[in-house]
């Protein structure tokens, strides 16, 4: 007895499973995330720079925010001195979101792409972005 | 073995000191297992098959040789033969090919083998036993093994490897206990069967297997009992039966037109204590005859067991063929099989495939109760314990279990019915109805976890005494446990090899415990119309409360 049918069925299932990423993406254009840094506040900045260099921020921003939270909540220390010597308020809402007021187009862009679910907004109040702007951006992208 | 008693030889139990034997050294040697060689000594191997037996069944390379000699007189192209043999079997058995590939050496099987538990030899861990063959497979049949060699666990097939195979494939009883624990179900029995099949290709086999094979081929049974002698021996035993019960039983042999053919191992007619079970069958059949049982015995198919299983698949088929052939010749409706271990592995897992379809037989129906044995509707062969359990369930037997009150019983699950069939409740049901004092051994030593008698698969000879005693430690120890705890003095089993080998084992590890069969217990308890007042059991021992009368 060979049970060829069962073996072939098994192999088809196996191939189906391991090639899932190959066939499930067919016909879906993989859109590269494009975080926007063109908020009104940023555009008015003389020097368009974040608190640390861009590459560092890309990789480490979550760690900075985490450190800030601990520092503010546990030690009461609210000032951050950057590597370039400038001083900033350790505040997500008042410092970060002041410039990056466009959560949907900035934060969510990459977080959704890589399925990262930061729990910032379980405590902080999500910024209320105007519905119209949100719709407009969706239309732009599609 | 230091300081053996001088008056004993290594093939005698008394040669081995119990305290010394049970101090097992589990520490593996320092050198790699590929660099160690087996040490052949009297007591741990079996003598080669005699040329006449090989000639009788047409197996290759009949000659006189000895395992302790340097030269084993192999054919010149032995290596070629073996490699071709492996290639052929890889094509024929998915089990073999798969088991060569997928073992991860997790070691779960290691301490499941009775030979390892009692002997400590690392190559008796099932995983290494298989690696003996697997290493050669890797070297000659896989790319990685060819290129990386020893790094990939591969080694060449050398003369020494062949000797190692012979040593270890005849230190495995094909009991399948390890397979129960293997996460992939790798079955060492399968590997040993194929290993022995390969060895047989170049004339490496043991007489304890091949003599029964040759006997069975020619005379119809392992013991080599010729037809007229079979009848005489039966009559002799039935005289004893008459002495005990006052009833003369007259069975029929080779009778055409009977409804049922009964086949049981010849070991039970040949030696005690199997003979009592043999008498038990006759007593039961005699009782049932007046109720409509029409049964006959055969001298041609006078063997239930099949030592072909321990030789090769082909030999198994050649010997098994007699059962259906005889059933057809006699024109019976179905076959009833006696108590035997590996016999039932063959009947349950091989017979229908090999020698079926048995379309000349009918679906078995008990003539007494009308029960249809639907689980046997294809092979048309029913186990005597199934048959008897059904009789008891339907109240067809008049039983007096107090006739077994002089006995405190435990039950040994034989490997093959346990793990090749799942035969647990039928014998227990029968026992509990014929015996008042019944105690189970510890749970890790019964049912699917049962331990081998260490003499199965053709190893049950005194030449193997050391290994049998070692391998028998787990079973013997469990028997000793219930002996001490519950006063158990009898060990019942449904296997003729057990009845031959466990006697020695019990004498050694649990002296005072006797070995019996389920149907000896049944016949002790069976109240047959017209029998005289029973004062003795089949062994001429007084029944409980009858001590004085029995002496008369």
């Amino acid at each position: 007895m060979y049970d060829g049918g069962k073996i072939i069925t098994g192999l088809v299932v196996f191939v189906g499973l391991v090639t899932f990423p190959l066939w499930s993406n067919v016909g879906k254009a993989a859109k590269k995330p494009d975080p926007k840094i063109d908020t009104p506040v940023i555009q008015q900045l003389a020097e368009k720079k974040c608190i640390e260099p861009k590459a560092f921020m890309q990789a480490e921003h979550m760690k900075i925010l985490n450190d800030w939270r601990d520092s503010v909540v546990r030690d009461g220390n609210k000032l951050y001195v950057s590597s370039s010597g400038k001083t900033f308020n350790m505040s997500l809402q008042n410092e970060c979101m002041n410039c990056h007021s466009n959560k949907k187009q900035f934060c969510d862009e990459c977080h959704n792409y890589t399925d990262v679910k930061p729990y910032c907004w379980t405590c902080h109040i999500e910024p209320k972005e105007k519905e119209k702007v949100a719709w407009a951006s969706i239309e732009e992208n599609s | 073995m230091a300081g053996p008693a001088k008056k004993f030889r290594p093939d005698q139990m008394g040669y081995y000191n119990k305290a010394e034997l049970s101090r097992v050294n589990y520490k593996p040697p320092r050198e790699d297992w590929m660099d160690t060689k087996p040490e052949f000594r009297i007591g741990n191997f079996i003598y080669p098959a005699k040329p006449k037996n090989l000639i009788c069944v047409g197996l290759p390379n009949p000659r006189e040789w000895a395992p302790m000699d340097e030269d084993w007189k192999l054919p010149e192209n032995w290596k070629e033969i073996l490699l071709e043999g492996i290639a052929e079997r890889l094509e024929k058995y998915r089990s073999f090919r798969l088991f060569m590939d997928i073992c991860v050496r997790c070691g779960a099987c290691a301490d499941k083998c009775h030979f390892f538990i009692g002997g400590g030899d690392p190559k008796n861990m099932p995983v290494l036993r298989a690696e003996l063959l697997r290493s050669v497979y890797r070297k000659h049949f896989t790319t990685a093994g060819k290129i990386l060699g020893r790094m990939a666990g591969a080694r060449d097939l050398t003369y020494d490897v062949v000797k190692e195979w012979f040593f270890y494939f005849f230190q495995c009883t094909e009991c399948r206990r390890c397979s129960v624990f293997c996460p992939y179900g790798i079955d060492t029995a399968e590997i040993t069967i194929i290993g022995r099949e390969l060895l047989n290709l170049i004339g490496l086999n043991v007489n304890w297997v091949l003599e029964p094979v040759a006997n069975c081929y020619r005379t119809g049974n392992h013991m080599g009992i010729q037809p007229h002698a079979y009848k005489e021996m039966t009559e002799f035993l039935l005289d004893d039966l008459e002495t005990v019960t006052g009833i003369k039983v007259t069975p029929s042999f080779n009778r055409k037109g009977a409804e049922i053919l009964f086949i049981t191992p010849s070991g039970d007619i040949f030696g005690d204590p199997g003979t009592y079970t043999y008498m038990g069958y006759h007593y039961l059949f005699h009782y049932l005859e007046s109720m409509g049982l029409d049964i006959t015995w055969s001298t041609y198919a006078s063997e239930g067991g099949n030592f072909g299983l321990f030789t090769s698949h082909e030999m198994m088929k050649r010997l098994n063929a007699k059962m259906y052939a005889e059933a057809k010749r006699l024109g019976v409706k179905w076959i009833l099989g006696g108590e035997c271990g590996h016999m039932w592995r063959v009947i349950n897992q091989y017979m229908g495939t090999m020698n079926g379809p048995a379309d000349f037989l009918e679906e078995p129906v008990s003539p007494i109760t009308g029960t249809k044995f639907e689980n046997a509707k294809s092979t048309k062969m029913v186990h005597i314990c199934e048959f008897t359990a059904d009789l008891i369930k339907h109240n067809k037997l008049k039983l007096d279990p107090s006739r077994n009150d002089h006995i405190t019983l435990t039950f040994h699950d034989s490997c093959n019915p346990a793990r090749g069939m799942g035969f647990f409740e039928e014998p227990r049901y029968v026992i509990k109805n014929v015996c008042n004092n019944f105690y189970e051994m510890p749970e890790n030593t019964i049912r699917e976890q049962t331990f081998c008698c260490a003499g199965g698969a053709g190893l049950g000879t005194d030449e193997m005494m050391e290994m049998r005693l070692r391998g028998g430690l787990p079973r013997g120890n469990a028997v000793q446990y219930v002996q001490k705890k519950h006063g158990v003095d009898h060990l019942a089993c449904v296997c003729a090899i057990d009845r031959a080998t466990l006697v020695t084992l019990c004498n050694y590890w649990a002296p005072g415990v006797e070995v019996t069969g389920v149907h000896e217990m049944v016949a002790n308890a069976l109240v047959v119309p017209g029998e005289k007042k029973r004062t003795q059991d089949f062994r001429f021992r007084p029944l409980k409360g009858m001590e004085e009368e029995a002496d008369v």
Partner: protein, 330 residues
């Protein structure tokens, strides 16, 4: 040697990836070419091996029965350890594949003076194996976030569940810890249990080291040497949509991780890791114990030489007649 060589091999693989990317700048080779090749080898090798197994028939139905068979209707039977129907076989296989039922039975023997043999429960191997395989599976599933867009619900579930403790940033995955612990356990028992050390081959240590290195490089990348994760996903999405590209700014740690994973994939079909496919084909587990009711067919069953009744009677006829046994020919 059996232990050292695989270790050296894994270290060498790490160095090769490091030197290849950071030294020679062969990002395309390590980021695109090798992953594609490895996946192809894995897929074709796996199928070939299973087909090779499938081409050998199962001549006999040889299930290892681990419970009461189906016999008389009033005998309570064990359906899952001794299946009689295909449905019961499927359940037995599911229990075997998903819960490692056979390994769960594991016991440990202890021989004392006397002699007294005692059997203890030994579930550590079962637990370790289960922990290892399920962490591996979870890790595989949550890695799909790099290979799908939009990301399917089950991948999100896997991630949420795995990070449910919400410890640290980036959120700590329990499986990262579990797989390290499980691999360490599986490794240490091989080294410290004398019997296991004796049977272990280089083929046993190599996958352990390789998986350990993969897990470590992944953990380092996530929690310590962070790299441009968006870039990583661009690369992986490029691979699965067959439009490979190498984005800027991906750290060498990623290439090391990817190269080790590629090695594992390519090594898989030629190794014991094929037990993944093999367990489904094991004839002692995947067959029903119903031989006496349903005949199993052996495709290569061939006629054999038997000793017929006629030959038997010819030899013993006179004796038989004398003993009063019936004969065919007078």
């Amino acid at each position: 040697m059996r232990l050292l060589l695989p270790l050296i091999a894994v270290l060498a693989l790490t160095l090769i990836a490091y030197a290849g990317v950071s030294g020679a700048g062969m990002n395309y080779l390590f980021g695109v070419f090798i992953p594609y090749a490895a996946f192809l080898i894995f897929l074709i090798g796996f199928i070939r091996r299973v087909v090779q197994w499938g081409r050998s028939p199962v001549p006999f139905r040889i299930p290892a029965t681990c419970g009461q068979e189906k016999s008389l209707p009033w005998v309570k039977r064990n359906r899952f350890d001794n299946p009689f129907t295909t449905g019961e076989v499927i359940i037995r296989m599911l229990l075997e594949v998903f819960l490692f039922r056979s390994l769960f039975r594991n016991t440990k023997v202890d021989l004392r003076e006397g002699p007294i043999l005692r059997y203890g429960s030994a579930k550590w191997l079962w637990l370790g194996a289960l922990a290892f395989h399920y962490s591996f599976l979870t890790i595989l599933v949550r890695h799909l976030r790099f290979f799908t867009e939009p990301i399917p619900f089950f991948v999100k579930w896997a991630e949420t569940l795995d990070g449910i403790l919400q410890v640290g940033v980036p959120a700590f995955y329990q499986t990262d810890m579990v797989i390290l612990a499980a691999v360490a356990y599986l490794f240490l028992r091989r080294v410290f249990v004398p019997q296991l050390r004796y049977i272990s081959l280089a083929n046993d240590y190599f996958p352990l080291f390789l998986i350990l290195a993969i897990a470590l490089s992944g953990i380092l990348m996530r929690y310590f040497f962070k790299t441009n994760i968006v870039g990583v996903k661009e690369l992986t999405m490029g691979l699965v949509t067959f439009s490979p590209k190498i984005p800027e700014g991906i750290g060498v740690i990623f290439y090391i991780h990817l190269f080790l994973v590629s090695t594992l994939f390519a090594y898989f079909p030629f190794s014991k890791l094929m037990h993944l496919g093999g367990v489904f084909l094991s004839p002692t587990r995947n067959l029903a114990n119903n031989n006496r009711a349903v005949r199993h067919i052996n495709p290569w069953n061939y006629p054999v030489k038997v000793h017929t009744y006629e030959e038997y009677e010819d030899e013993f006829r006179e004796h038989m007649k004398e003993a009063g046994l019936p004969v065919e020919k007078e």
